[in-house]
Amino acid sequence: MPDWNQPIRQRLEGLNLDGSREAEIVEELSQHLEDRYRDMLSSGLSEDRAVTAALGELETDDLLARELRKTRQPADGRRAPLGATGPSSIFAGFRHDLKVALRIVIQKPAFAAMVAGILALGIASNAAIFSVFNGLFLRPLPFVEPSRLLDLDETAPKWDLTYVGISNFDAYHWMWGNTTFDGMAFFGHGGANLSDGSIASQRIEAPPVTYTLLDVLGLKPVFGRNILPKEDKPGGDNVILLGYDLWQRLYHGDRNILGHVLKLDGKPYTVIGILPREAALPPNADAWIPLAADPNSSGSYYLSGVGRLKHGVTIDQARADLTRVHKSFIKTQPVNEDTAPILQPLRDRYLGDFKTVTHILLGAVAVLLLIACVNIAGLMLVRGQSRARELGIRMALGASRARIVRHLFTESCVLAMAGGILGVALGEVCLRALVSLMPDDIPRWVEFGMDFRFVFFCVAVIGASAILFSLAPAVDALRVNAHGSLQETARVTFSRARRGMLGVLVVGEIALALMLLVGSGLLVQAFRKILNVDPGFRPHNVLTWSLDPPASKYKDGPSRYAFYHELIERLKSVPGVERVSAADLVPLGGHNGYFFVAEGARQLGPQEKNPVVLGITAMAGYFETMGLTFVGGRGFDERDEQPNQPHVAIVNESFVKWFWPGQNGVGKRISYAFGKPGKEDWLQVVGVVRDTAHYGLDGEHRPSVFATYPYAPQRAMTIAIRSGIDPHALVAPAREVIRQMDPDLPMFKIHTMTERLDHSLWTRRAYSWLFGAFAAVALLLAAAGIYGVISFSVSRRTREIGIRMALGARPAQVMRGVLADGMLLVGAGAALGLAAAYFAASLLRTMLFGVSPRDLFTYAAVAAMVALVGVAANYVPARRASRVDPNQALRFE
């Protein structure tokens, strides 16, 4: 008798079966081969051929092992009885599912790309915007116990000012008199010209701070020491704490910098330490010097404050405490009647401007996420339905239900994963782009990084909707018994309920997209309206930069006037320069507020407050250089700057409107409200100019007064050049002219006026376009949704359409029918969306610059656009329906 065991054993090698199991298999199989062999012999075959035939049962060398591997567990020390399943079969099943899922996903690349693309879009936009929001508003500030830190300032509603700044007197008396703070610190704002031997003179932000600032923030110097209390007193030593970035930039992180002496505005300062990166308060500070203020001087309001609350103290208690202290000095400081402390969390003060914008954008991306979910749900449902028949057949052929569920689950997981990975990558790119576009005035302690918890959340939300809706057909399959499944899948698959659900999804999607479109339409309208605002000056070809001649070198007004005057004269001879002048504040260049009295002004009403007036010091020729328009009178000329000339001023239209409504202001007299009544120092108004967009194209117009340099001398001035050539080309020659006059004087804030205007619109431009982009994506998704659902419904109705055409329906009729079905959904969605937008748009009111949130044109345009996109998305399936060949259709199925 031949030995069957050997060839069988050979084929079991590598399966790593345990001994007893292998013995059983070998016994059973060799029995089979033996039976076969005997049958062959008895049928008259030769012995040789009988052996060959029997061995043929084993087929190829590896088939047996391959087949067995699906069932048998390798022996791993445990003895599993024949037929038991081991743990690795689950993994093997998963691997198999994964392979099949991948294959199926790859087989339908368009569908896979669509699902993954939608997922990626939803995830990327949400992750990027949320990361920005997170950085600005959620991530704790990099200070110790940041929740106890409050921003301190003074407010004066009577002066129409929210933030006045804090005077020395108030700062120190709050610090000494309060009982609710562990510590308080104050800082000014200011730049200085830094010069240090070999390093080219440059402008840095070196605000004066109280020595308490580091402690209040809970920070320590990177190395070196903090400012000492004795250095923070009038007459104290000149010391400087360098900011981390400045130290790296100028001194390349040299640790021998301690004790080094550098010059600020010509005065020597000794480096005592390096600030940690987080110590960027005020935002963008490059270095700190001691405030060394006189606690009893109360003239100017120039400080900002930060306080650390005692444990358990609320902001209201602190406010009451500081107000008590503040008002207790009304006797000696009568002005404290008008002013009051204003307290708020640190973050609100520095990032509050971005709050509305980021909230709105977050709302927009959330809607987008919702649309993506709905879209994925619809797609999965459609696809699942189209596969119901396949699943029915597979069930009939023996695939278990659990297996089918597992299979669909794996498939959606693969898609969700692909979309997730793509989305994270895309989100990272979007985030980087967004951050690079951020304005410079965001504090340095704000960090933007992808928040992976949130990314996970997005993937989970969209992935869950994909998985949930992909399982719908499997749920059906579980309900329908195997017998019925084939017939059911063939006929009733697209149940009325399921169809209704798809319809609801599409309607919802269109409504959401339309809401976003209306929002973005309104924002873009507002933006266009702002772009069309006349700035009141001619920004083209005007270059501006600031200079700050130090008091140590330019001691008084006349010496500075002489410097500026000579500089202007020299610049006039630079080729390409058409006009040159200077002002302390150019449009979009900041604010200096004063109170004014005007001769013959109208009586103020009982509720009216004397307005804060923007005061600007301008030199001869400034109005012509900046391109301001005169309504009446003239600009300053050099005669106005001569000694013993009558004092003159120029006001803007808002000023005239406020003080002398209906009159021409030229020839009237005004005065700064410094002196007591009767002791005014009158200035004669010689010109009235049109209002300029001094606070931005979308900003308010305040009454303004321009005074001559000799009358209101300023240290820092902004030089303006109007050129006949590209103004950027004038930076180098201008720098050379200045270098010849004073090599230690750096130019700073070098911008053309066009750049200043652009910059002032940055936030609005960014959010308008972002919102627009989201709305466009939403519309695209909604269009894909309509297309998918209608296409699918057409493909399900091929037979019905075929019958109708066989009965004489014309293609155009069929097309109309399908279009009508689709447009019904679009119409319902649009109606719902318009209604929702009508209410939601009022949330945007503050950003609309006078465009009505009910702007009819926008609503009509958006509705028309949605209708058009709806027709386009419906057209392709409708056309397909109209081309159905009745013969083919009836044979179909």
Binding site: L29, E59, E67, L82, G398, A482
Partner: protein
């Protein structure tokens, strides 16, 4: 669904159906099952060792069959397979499914000549 996976499910599904059907009446050993398939299909369908036994083991794993060694005097012991209650239930389902499938195929193929 891919062509391949239909083929595979078809073969697998039908093979399972065949085996379960053959065991409905009484327990049988592997060689007997393979002989019956071959003779009853008049040689059109045959299952060889390399595919039959792994399939039997799988059905056993899934609790549809139970295999047991039976010794008869004067013979080598043989492993007999019989249907479990679960196997009987699946058999009914599969049989109905198969009939429906055949019916469906007949409709489709018959349509050409209708």
């Amino acid at each position: 669904m891919s062509e391949q996976s239909i083929q595979r499910d078809l073969k697998k599904g039908s093979a399972e159906l065949l085996i379960l059907s053959l065991l409905e009446a009484r327990p049988r050993h592997g060689y007997e099952i393979s002989k019956l398939i071959e003779t009853r299909s008049r040689g059109a369908v045959s299952f060889r060792v390399a595919s039959l036994y792994p399939l039997l083991y799988r059905l056993e794993d899934r609790g549809l069959l139970l295999g047991r060694w039976v010794e008869k005097t004067g013979q080598r012991r043989r492993r007999y397979y019989r249907l479990t209650p679960a196997g009987r239930k699946i058999l009914i389902q599969r049989r109905l499914g198969w009939l429906a499938f055949v019916e469906a195929i007949r409709h489709i193929t018959g349509n050409e000549y209708a």
